[in-house]
Amino acid sequence: MRWLKHGYLGLVYLLLYLPIAVLVVFSFNASRNPYRWQGLSLEWYARLWDNDALIQAAANSLLLATTAATLSTLIGTLTAIALHRYRFRGKRLLNGMLFVVMMSPDIVLAISLLVLFILLGVKLGYLSLLLAHVTFCLPFVVVTVYARLSGFNAQIIEAARDLGASEWQMLRTVLVPIIFPAVMAGWLLGFTLSLDDVVVSIFVTGPTFEVLPLRIYSMVRLGVKPEVNALATVLLMLSLLALLASQYFLARK
């Protein structure tokens, strides 16, 4: 039984992590042929560093992900607070719409955003990407923060007001500090979503602003280059760091 249990678990992890492990290992491969091991080398990392277009795309992606995550966190946190704390017209509608955005396929969102941008005359590039990314990140931030808000005792807010805090003082000294871990988690979620989005980006991107996933996609179309392995490894490390950070914030209750 013991053997079976460990064997099963091992199989699950093998299935999950073997592809990633292969990728990481082959990023250090000396051979140009991505399917044959020819000894250890950092050549592809050097090539990656020299590939200006790729580095530029990575920088663009980081900029986009950071701004999109920040903007959606700001809007999303305020939305979650409003949904939780106040009664207003159309509250249930707003709540429902968030889920519609979250559930609808990326492709639908992508096409509708593209049509909208063309109709409104928004120039395709950084701005259109930013707006699109904020759109699909927003519901996730709202849901994350809202979950935290509904998990805690509303009388805490009343207590702050009761003790003489104005609405603003209460937000600053009680509500925001309490939901801060969820706000951070929401930001990281948005950052990750934005960083690896392909479907929406491919529709609303413009020639002036190339993002990393699309750059990689175009590179891979002509066969997987070992540089891409190196790049993927770097990204993997970054995601791991982000994951650790989010766990740290969530654990700090």
């Binding site: 005792n153 009388q155 207590a159 702050a160 007001r161 003790l163 000294t173």
Partner: protein
């Protein structure tokens, strides 16, 4: 010298216990078309310990929240020391609340929790420091000032909640079932402590509970509520010994209810009542009953007496249940008419007749003159 404005203010502040600190005038509140508080008036006297007592859903907590400013009344006025506060937000009312769930700030230390109210007022640092120390000392929590709420026991959290609310020296302290989460022993202890704090600070306490024992033992006056109405206001003794209706009688302690009819009014005002087929002389009451009137004769379990069956007086019945309660022995007796009575007797080791067995036939009587007489209620079933 003509009295200055400050003199007048000083005179106003030295209020006698008879003065009113809080006045509710025609306050009402509904949630989604459901009346929770029907238009009601209530006066709270300066320095008193007033308890709102009633079953859950009677509107007592809503009333407290209206006074605290967390709900807006649909109609009516709330006056605090003569000033209309009906429309003021909670932070502008000189009233503080101890919440049922304590509602401590989880991300702050005990010290910061207690200091919160003073810091919101932007008091000088030195004053905050000394007043927090003083209040923590009063609730015996000085050593725990650096702890977080989740590192405290329930009783300690309760003390922090009280300290945090009284530090601002409110005109009125609202307590929303503050002891309901504590176990029996701790609750008893905190009851005594709350009374001590109230004496020391001289703050008016408005206390909400559904526990009649707690209400009777702590309050100066009790307000019994039902379905958004005030049923009776009085001292604990008043409410217990002279309930104004069947609901109050039944809610505040156990009670036995006999249906009776007035058979005769005696010359001295006493009545002769027809109860369970027997004629019983009842005390004179200012109710002004006439012959033929239907009434309830109410008796507390401790006023009933159980006698051996061969005695002449009393109603015949059978012991159907016996519950040992430590200090007292409770018996349920079924009369021949089917009416069930609860009798509660103190142990008396010299009384040989005391120990009736289950199923034994006995006679039930009571101490004359201890009956409570109420006009018969038919419409409002309890």
């Amino acid at each position: 010298m003509a009295p200055t404005r400050t003199d007048a203010e000083a005179a106003w502040r030295v209020a006698t216990p008879e003065q009113t600190i809080l006045q509710l005038q025609g306050i009402s509140k509904s949630f989604d078309d459901k009346r929770v508080v029907c238009p009601l008036d209530l006066d709270v006297r300066h320095g008193e310990f007033l308890t709102l007592l009633g079953p859950s859903g009677c509107g007592k907590t809503t009333l407290l929240r209206l006074i605290g400013g967390f709900e807006r009344p649909d109609g009516g006025t709330i006056l605090l020391a003569g000033r209309d506060i009906t429309r003021l937000p909670p932070n502008q009312r000189p009233v503080n609340t101890v919440f049922q769930s304590y509602a401590l700030f989880p991300h702050m230390s005990v010290f910061d929790n207690v200091a919160y109210g003073l810091r919101a007022e932007r008091r000088p640092r030195a004053e905050v420091e000394s007043r927090v120390r003083e209040v923590l000392n009063m609730v015996q929590l000085e050593e725990l000032a650096g702890r977080r709420p989740d590192q405290l026991s329930g009783g300690q959290q309760q003390r922090v909640a009280i300290a945090r609310a009284v530090i601002k020296k409110p005109r009125l302290l609202l307590l929303d079932e503050p002891l309901s989460a504590l176990d029996y022993k701790l609750r008893k202890q905190m009851q005594i402590e709350l009374k001590r704090i109230q004496r020391e600070l001289g703050i008016t306490f408005l206390f909400v509970t559904h526990d009649q024992e707690e209400a009777l033992s702590m309050s100066d006056r009790v307000v019994v509520m039902r379905e958004g109405h005030v049923e009776q206001i009085g001292t604990p003794r008043d409410v217990y010994e002279n309930p104004s209706n069947l609901f109050v009688a039944r809610f505040v302690g156990e009670i036995n209810v006999f249906d009776a009819e007035v058979a005769e009014v005696l010359g001295d005002g006493r009545l002769v009542g027809q109860i369970e087929g027997r004629r019983i002389t009842l005390p004179a009451r200012n109710g002004g009953f006439a012959v033929g009137d239907a009434l309830h004769v109410l008796l507390r379990p401790e006023d009933l007496r159980l006698l051996p069956p061969e005695r002449e007086e009393g109603f015949s019945g059978e012991v159907v249940e016996r519950n040992y309660k430590g200090m007292t022995l409770e018996s349920v007796i079924r009369l021949e008419s089917g009416l069930q009575l609860l009798a509660s007797e103190f142990f008396d080791e010299d009384d040989p007749d005391f120990d009736y067995r289950l199923g034994e036939r006995i006679k039930v009587t009571w101490v004359p003159n201890w009956e409570i007489l109420l006009p018969r209620e038919t419409a409002r079933a309890v």
